[in-house]
């Protein structure tokens, strides 16, 4: 079923968007010196190697723009060629580069990027919050473009995934950033999820933030079934799961 749906879709893909492809490659390759620093530097920050956080952000942002670049190929040829689009993609690119530069610089100096209220870092943190909203707005803007072209289940699922990424991420990340840290509750003894590092003993707002951001991956999986009903169920279910984890974290509880 998937194959029969994918075949005409693949025949109609547009040329890759050069701005998004370039940005993805740059953010991914710029992680190489950070990997070298990770190997060479023993300094720790909150229990992790100091370079782990910038590496995670490079990976996450490259996955984000890489996914958007892939999705963009499903829209009609010429969708992104207007002057307005090019300027907007330039602004989003600048925000993404500013984020990784800020997080990388804070790591190099051995200080906090997010939640840092000392000296010049405090206004910078607010500014980077605004940049984060702008870079996330690309999901919404592209989601609305897909909404206008929701000719089949796949296009609908990409539209909903992208729009949900923006609608869920902004309030969850906004709540997290207006607090004093990503953890809510006590006691914190350091029990964490393997690899991802979320707390398994108190509320950790990074988990719902992660889910919210990945709506753009989760919902389109349902679109591969070819059923619009499945897409709507997946969108509602994923929203519910994300909000449930958000509520649990706000109550200071782990997800389960």
């Amino acid at each position: 079923m998937t194959a029969t749906l994918a075949a005409p879709r693949l025949a109609a893909v547009s040329a890759p968007n050069r701005q998004l492809v370039r940005l993805t490659l740059f953010v991914a390759l710029a992680a190489l010196p950070l990997m070298a620093a990770h190997v060479l530097d023993d300094r720790q920050f909150q229990g992790d190697n100091i370079w782990l956080k910038p590496l995670k952000f490079h990976l996450a942002l490259a996955v984000y723009t890489g996914t958007l670049a892939l999705f963009a190929m499903l829209l009609p040829e010429g969708t992104f060629t207007s002057r307005r689009w090019r300027i907007y993609l330039g602004v989003v690119s600048a925000c993404i580069l500013a984020e990784v530069a800020w997080i990388g610089s804070a790591a190099a100096l051995g200080t906090a990027s997010h939640f840092n209220q000392t000296g010049l870092w405090a206004p910078l943190y607010s500014l980077m919050g605004a940049a984060a909203v702008i870079l996330t707005s690309l999901a919404l803007v592209m989601g609305l473009a897909f909404w206008r072209h929701r000719t089949d289940a796949l296009m609908l699922s990409v539209a909903l995934g992208l729009i949900l990424t923006f609608l869920l991420t902004v309030p969850i990340a906004g709540t997290m950033s207006s607090g004093t840290g990503h953890l809510i509750g006590t006691p914190v003894t350091g029990a964490r999820f393997p690899l991802m590092g979320w707390s398994t003993e108190v509320g950790d707002l990074r988990l719902p933030h992660f889910l919210a951001t990945h709506a753009l991956h989760a919902v389109p999986l349902a679109g591969l079934t070819g059923s619009r009903a499945a897409v709507w169920v997946a969108a509602a279910g994923f929203t519910g799961l994300t909000l449930w984890c958000f509520a649990r974290a706000l109550m200071g509880l782990p997800p389960f």
């Binding site: 010196p33 950070l34 070298a36 620093a37 060479l40 370079w51 190099a108 051995g110």
Partner: protein, 141 residues
Amino acid sequence: MPPDQLFQLANPLALLGWVALLAAPLAPRAAQAVAAAAIPLLLSLAYAGLVLAFWWQAPGGFGSLAEVQTLFTHPQIALAGWLHYLAFDLFLGAWAVRTARAEGIPHWTVIPCLVLTFLFGPAGLLAFAILRFTFVRKVLP
């Protein structure tokens, strides 16, 4: 990774690039791939990692000779400085070999310049500039 260990890895790596340059007439493109791209970029990656990690913790600076001397008392920064020599000298050597080939200067005459560049960087650049001028009356790129 301790700086000594990286130092022990970097030297033979650079040497490999110089061997490739000496043998360049046998496989010009492969020699350039190794000596102008792969090895200098690998060394640059290690350099960038060291500077990202240790520049902010190092004493001294660029403001005076005394400050520069103090800067290089920091082991990782001294190692970064050494990698800088290794990477740039090799890159320059590859450029000399490429330029000589393009302008018809015999490879065997470039070999002493390569040895000088390997040991005393800028002295090798000067030697190649003189060699090149005697052969093709050119100094500019």
